[in-house]
Symmetry: C2
Subunit: 207 residues, 2 copies
C-alpha cells in the first residue's frame, strides 16, 4: 500500500471495515474487475459493484486507484503483461527447436482449464476492444507480438520473410478460431484438424 495515497482528496475519511483488518492489494481489485468483465461485461466493471463484491467500502478503492479509468488501464496492463510473460515462457520452454515451438503453439487452444479461462478473459477483452481505443491498442499489441513470434518460428524453419509472415498469420488465425469456435466439431475432428494444420503449414508452396 502506498501511504501517500492517504493524501488523495477522493479517499474517504472512514477506513473500510475489512480493509482495516486485511488490506486489499491492487491485484485483488484488478482480479475482481477481470472477473466482472468476463462474467458481465465492461459496463458492469464499476467501483461500487467491485466494492460490493469484495465487501469493502468504495473509499478503500482510492488507496490504489485514481479512478475507474485508472483501474481499467491497469486491468489491460496486467493482461498485456501476462500475454508477454507467456510468450517469454514459451520461448524458454521450447528452446531453439522450431519444430517443437510449432507443436507448442498449435496445441495451445487444447490446454485444459487454464487455457479455457485464459480464452474467456481474452474474448471479453476483445469484446471490450470493439468499443474502446485503450483496450483496442492492448489487444493489437498482444496480437502483433504473438504473430511476430509465430513468424520467427517459420523463419527458423527456412521460409522466406513474406511467406513466414503469411504462415504466421494463418496459424495464429487457426489458434484464435479454435478458441472462438470451440463448439465446432467433435473432439476427434478437432484433433484431426490440429494434425492437419501442423503438417500443411510446414509444407512448401508448390511453384
Amino acid at each position: 500500500m502506498n501511504p501517500a495515497a492517504a493524501a488523495k482528496p477522493r479517499r474517504r475519511a472512514r477506513a473500510a471495515p475489512r480493509a482495516a483488518k486485511t488490506p486489499l492489494t491492487p491485484e485483488t481489485w484488478i482480479d475482481a474487475a477481470t472477473e466482472v468483465l468476463v462474467d458481465r461485461g465492461i459496463d458492469h466493471v464499476r467501483v461500487d459493484i467491485l466494492a460490493g463484491e469484495l465487501k469493502v467500502t468504495r473509499g478503500s478503492f482510492y488507496w490504489h486507484f485514481r479512478d475507474r479509468e485508472d483501474l481499467l488501464r491497469r486491468v489491460l496492463k496486467a493482461w498485456g503483461e501476462r500475454a508477454t510473460e507467456q510468450l517469454t515462457a514459451r520461448l524458454a520452454r521450447a528452446g531453439t527447436d522450431a519444430q517443437a515451438q510449432l507443436r507448442d503453439v498449435i496445441s495451445l487452444p487444447f490446454r485444459g482449464r487454464s487455457a479455457a479461462r485464459g480464452a474467456r478473459i481474452e474474448l471479453a477483452i476483445r469484446a471490450w476492444a470493439r468499443r474502446d481505443e485503450m483496450a483496442r491498442k492492448t489487444v493489437d499489441e498482444a496480437d502483433a507480438s504473438r504473430i511476430a513470434y509465430h513468424e520467427e518460428i517459420f523463419a527458423t524453419l527456412g521460409f522466406e520473410a513474406g511467406e513466414s509472415r503469411s504462415r504466421a498469420f494463418l496459424l495464429y488465425s487457426y489458434e484464435v478460431a479454435e478458441s472462438l469456435l470451440h463448439r465446432q466439431g467433435t473432439p476427434a475432428q478437432r484433433e484431426e484438424r490440429r494434425g492437419f494444420v501442423e503438417r500443411l503449414l510446414q509444407q512448401a508452396l508448390v511453384r
Copy 2:
C-alpha cells in the same frame, strides 16, 4: 402491423405520437436494436432506450413484440436468416465452379464497407454469445453452416471427407481472423497472405 396485438395486455392505451402518423415496422425496431447492440453492447438494448432513439413511446413497442426477450430473439433470427441468405446468394453467384467459390469466400473479409459493417455486427453478436445461450446457439449454427459450405468446396475440389473438413475449418479460421484482427499488417501484407492462403489450401498434403 398485426391488429391482434392491440389486444395484448402489455400494450399501453395511448398510441405513440409518431406511431400514429408513420407506424414503425418490426424491422425498424430490430434494426435500431442491432445498431445499439453494435455501438453500446447488449446491456443497452432496452425498450426505453430504443423508444427514445426512435422518438416513439415505449407502448408502441408492444404492438410488435411481447417483451425485450422477444425482440432479442428476433434480432438473432434476422441475423441468422441474413447469414443463410448470404450463403445461398454465394452459391448462386459462384455457380458450380469450386475454384471460383474458393476465391469468393477468401475475398469475403475484403469487401469494403458493407463487409466492414457486417463484421462489426457479427463481432457484437459473438460478444453477446459469450454470455447468452440463445445468442450462442445462433452463432454456432451460422458457423456450422458456413464451415459446411467451405467443406463442400473442398470436397468438390477432390479432397476426401476428413481432409475437406479440416481445410474448411482452417479457411474459415482465416476469414474470421482477417475480420477480427483487421489491423494486423499493411494492406500489401494482407493481400500477400490472401494469395498465400488461396494457394496453400489447394495443395495436397505431402505423404
